[in-house]
């Protein structure tokens, strides 16, 4: 009976992380526990912001989810299916990622339209049809116009001529145009100046809302974590240190969280 209920709970959750542990250099003096029996689950359409100090396990968590690294133990389920059983190319279709470095999520030697077309092809084999289709270009133009940044005029320009913020907007659109189930944002505004960062986050909100894509966003900026998303998780030494939902989140202030971060760390005897 209990097993059945557990199974039901698992099913109702969109992304479930069960007892995930990742230890680097097991058994050696430099052994590092990046994630320590970490569990949590989120529902479809959730926009989760993840904060935490350096080495809290944020990036490790993302690497385990997108499959570029494998856990020491534990598992990750997407709609009840273990991710580890998915072949790599299927995972790439289901889970999109925008990284911190603006040059890491786009192909800079190609035009914006070509980049977006690559994202359109994502999930199937390429053929010898024209790479950039007319009807796709129309679609790109429409979406880009809705951002109000004039990027629709730059579809035929090489992405190498774009600013960091423009590259990240392109990356966001590339990440979501293939309709992934999960969007991972790994400090995607950290390399941008505050104004551009704000603009990129505005577009992020817009895209997440329109595409209704379940999103996890890592950030160093506590204000961002509070202002965006509906669930905030504070990671600490590979565990959840603190978790707040939508209603509580709004009443939080930055100083409170900063205190929590400090107190939390003090509890572990560091600093």
């Amino acid at each position: 009976m209990e097993a059945e209920i557990n199974f039901y709970l698992m099913k109702s959750n969109f992304l479930t992380i069960k007892n995930l542990t990742k230890i680097y250099d097991v058994g050696s003096p430099s052994e590092v526990v990046a994630l320590n029996n970490f569990s949590f689950s989120i529902k479809k359409g959730d926009f989760v912001t993840i904060v935490g100090s350096n080495a809290a396990g944020k990036t490790t968590l993302f690497n385990l989810i997108n499959g570029s690294d494998s856990p020491t133990s534990g598992e990750i389920l997407l709609e009840g299916e273990p991710l580890s059983e998915l072949p790599e190319f299927k995972r790439a279709k289901l889970i999109s990622c925008v990284r911190q470095n603006p040059n890491d999520s786009v192909i800079v030697s190609m035009t914006l339209a070509e980049n977006l077309s690559l994202a359109k092809i994502n999930g199937r084999s390429a053929n010898l049809d024209k790479g950039v289709k007319k009807e796709w270009k129309k679609e790109f133009k429409k979406i880009l116009k809705s951002f109000g940044l004039g990027l629709e005029k730059r579809l035929d320009d090489k992405v190498s001529s774009f600013s960091g913020g423009q590259k990240q907007i392109a990356a966001l659109l590339m990440a979501t145009i293939s309709k992934p189930k999960l969007l991972l944002l790994d400090e995607h505004t950290a390399a941008l100046d505050p104004n551009v960062s704000k603009m990129v986050l505005r577009i992020t909100d817009q895209i997440v809302k329109e595409e209704k894509v379940t999103t996890l966003m890592i950030t160093h900026n506590i204000r961002q974590a509070i202002e965006h998303g509906n669930l905030l998780i504070l990671l600490e030494k590979g565990r959840i240190g603190f978790k707040v939902g939508d209603s509580q989140k709004r009443s939080l202030n930055i100083i409170e969280i900063e205190n929590l971060l400090e107190n939390g760390l003090a509890k572990f005897g560091k600093f």
Binding site: N66, E88, F89, K90, A92, K93, S96, C97, N103, D104, S105, V106, I107, V108, S109, M110, E114, S117, L118, A119, I121, N122, G123, A126, N127, L128, D129, K130, G131, V132, K158, M174, S178
Partner: protein
Amino acid sequence: MDSLLFTSVELGLLYAIVVLGVFLTFRILNFPDLTVDSSFVLGAAATAIFIRNGVPGILSIFVGFIAGFLGGSLTAILHTKLGIGKILSGILSMSILYTVNLRLMHGPNVSLLNQPGIIEIFKVPTNHFYLILFLITVVLIIKFLIDWFLQTEFGLWFRATGNNEVTAQSFSINTKLTKFIGIGLSNGLVGFAGGLITQYQGFSDINMGVGTVILSLAALMLGEALTSKNKIPILTFVIVIGAILYQLIVNIALQLGLAGSDLKFITALIVIISLLIGGRNKFLSYEKQLFNN
């Protein structure tokens, strides 16, 4: 002097096909492929053997393409399946193909003994016009095929692989496949050109491929120095011009009294000068490739 000019143009057009192949690996795929020196001979040897055995010249050049493709596949397999570095994969298959070429030709060279090849049809002793017209047609067809290919869906995959392999994989691009096809096609073109040049000169020789990579790079850089544009149809065009320019420079150097054995020095000099005047940034990728792999 006129005859010298025409000969340069003919050779330039023939080698332009090699340079277009090298463009695919060095420039688009970011793969400094050294296989070229021997896949060139492989295409030449295979073509020569087929012609000697009575296969019409027009069919034999396609044999050159297939042979070159197989030669390139060897490098691609060494690199993608066995995980050997880019440069070393090329050097290894160069070594393997040297033996294969000798075996194929049963010796260091094969003469065509005036057996009719496709070049013979257009080669009139006193008139270069028809041959040049034929070669221009062939080169333009290949140029437009490359332009078309790089704009297809698979072409986008191919270009993405060369620019950033990790990002390409995150768009579920099978980068092993794109590399295999890319290196294969590139060497296929090189083998095809080897077959044509065999017919042009009337023999194939085990040493005819020595220095093809550096020659192609010189022609490639000469061509690229002619434009500041980065669009593929423009690049494939200036590369052809670069190949012809290279042959002209070489011929002028010979006219000025340099020995044939001095040419390698001249070629390297052209590459170095192109690197300097072309702007370091534009060509930095070459240096990066050669030292990082």
